[in-house]
């Protein structure tokens, strides 16, 4: 019987995966992956690896190419030759000389919390964009949309705060005009 702590999932250089992949132990990826990658242990991306999408892992050692938003609980290490483009949320970071990183860094004790909030906002944004495009909606959001349809927001061409000021001033302006006309 294999021990989950010592075993490692290996995806060879010939494999190409797109979609969502969740691994409950350490992983070594040498091929191409597109989508959401969740690894509870240490994720190693070899020199031949190419990942795009989203990476959520316990720890990350990157030597390949990645164009992804990365959320790592423990530590991120970018080895020489590694290329990472995207947002990075972690508590420890080591980018050695020879590695390339371009993007936003959010490092600290509250980085994971910030990542969760960012992900939530992204999900909401995606849901809104899918509604705009007339795509199918998730079941959880149907009820909320019905509520919104029952109580539609007033259509305004100016920001709400400006509109309120204009509405407040309107009676004063009208009364002043009437006063001038009479006088």
């Amino acid at each position: 019987m294999s021990d989950a702590r010592t075993s490692k999932t290996v995806l060879g250089p010939d494999c190409r995966i797109s979609g969502e992949l969740t691994l409950d132990n350490d992983a070594l990826i040498m091929g191409q992956f597109t989508g959401t990658l969740r690894v509870t242990g240490t994720l190693e991306l070899s020199e031949s690896s190419q990942v795009s999408g989203m990476i959520i892992a316990g720890a990350l050692r990157l030597a390949g190419h990645a164009e992804a938003d990365v959320v790592v609980e423990d530590a991120v290490e970018l080895l020489p030759g590694a290329q990472l483009v995207g947002q990075l949320y972690t508590s420890r970071l080591n980018i050695v000389e020879g590695a390339t990183f371009q993007g936003d860094v959010c490092v600290g004790p509250k980085a994971i919390q910030a990542a969760k909030e960012a992900l939530k906002q992204n999900d909401e944004h995606d849901a809104l964009s899918s509604l705009d495009q007339g795509m199918t909606q998730p079941a959880s959001s149907i009820g909320q949309d019905q509520d919104q349809q029952e109580d539609p927001a007033p259509i305004t061409t100016v920001p709400g705060s400006v509109n309120q000021i204009l509405q407040r001033r309107r009676p004063k302006v009208l009364s002043a005009r009437n006063g001038n006309g009479i006088g």
């Binding site: 980018i95 000389e97 390339t100 993007g103 860094v105």
Partner: protein, 134 residues
């Protein structure tokens, strides 16, 4: 000994600095800049190596390594050759870490902030474009 930049022939300074107080402004040197624990810097920084143990807010262009130690706070934009953020450090920054940073000959020279808009002078006027006043 004076050393000049091979590309722009500007004299280079290699002074190492340790900041122990609060300062606001720009710093430019090719040496090692260290922000010690209670110190705080707000501004632009150009240096050869940067170690932050205090609080830094602004833009840092570093020709070598950037090290952010535990309990340090960094906000802004970081450009450098390598970046190490220790456990406990807080950083919210746009990072640009490249083996050969894309830095021009004037990157090390801090540009002056524009104080007023310059009115463009008329170099030449064609007589066809002129009209008599009404």
């Amino acid at each position: 000994m004076s050393v000049r930049c091979p590309s722009c022939t500007r004299p280079l300074e290699f002074k190492d600095l340790t900041l122990r107080a609060r300062m606001q402004g720009d710093v430019s040197t090719m040496g090692h800049v260290e922000l010690s624990s209670p110190s705080e810097m707000i501004g632009r920084l150009v240096c050869g190596q940067f170690t932050n143990t205090g609080r830094f807010e602004g833009q840092a262009v570093v020709y070598g390594a950037i090290v952010l130690t535990g309990k340090s706070l960094t906000i802004g934009e970081l450009t450098g050759k390598s970046l190490i953020i220790h456990h406990g450090a807080t950083a919210r920054a746009k990072a640009n870490i490249l083996p050969k940073p894309r830095l021009g000959p004037n990157s090390g020279k801090l540009r002056e902030r524009p104080t007023r808009k310059l009115i463009p002078r008329i170099a030449a006027v064609s007589p066809k474009g002129l009209r008599p006043l009404a």
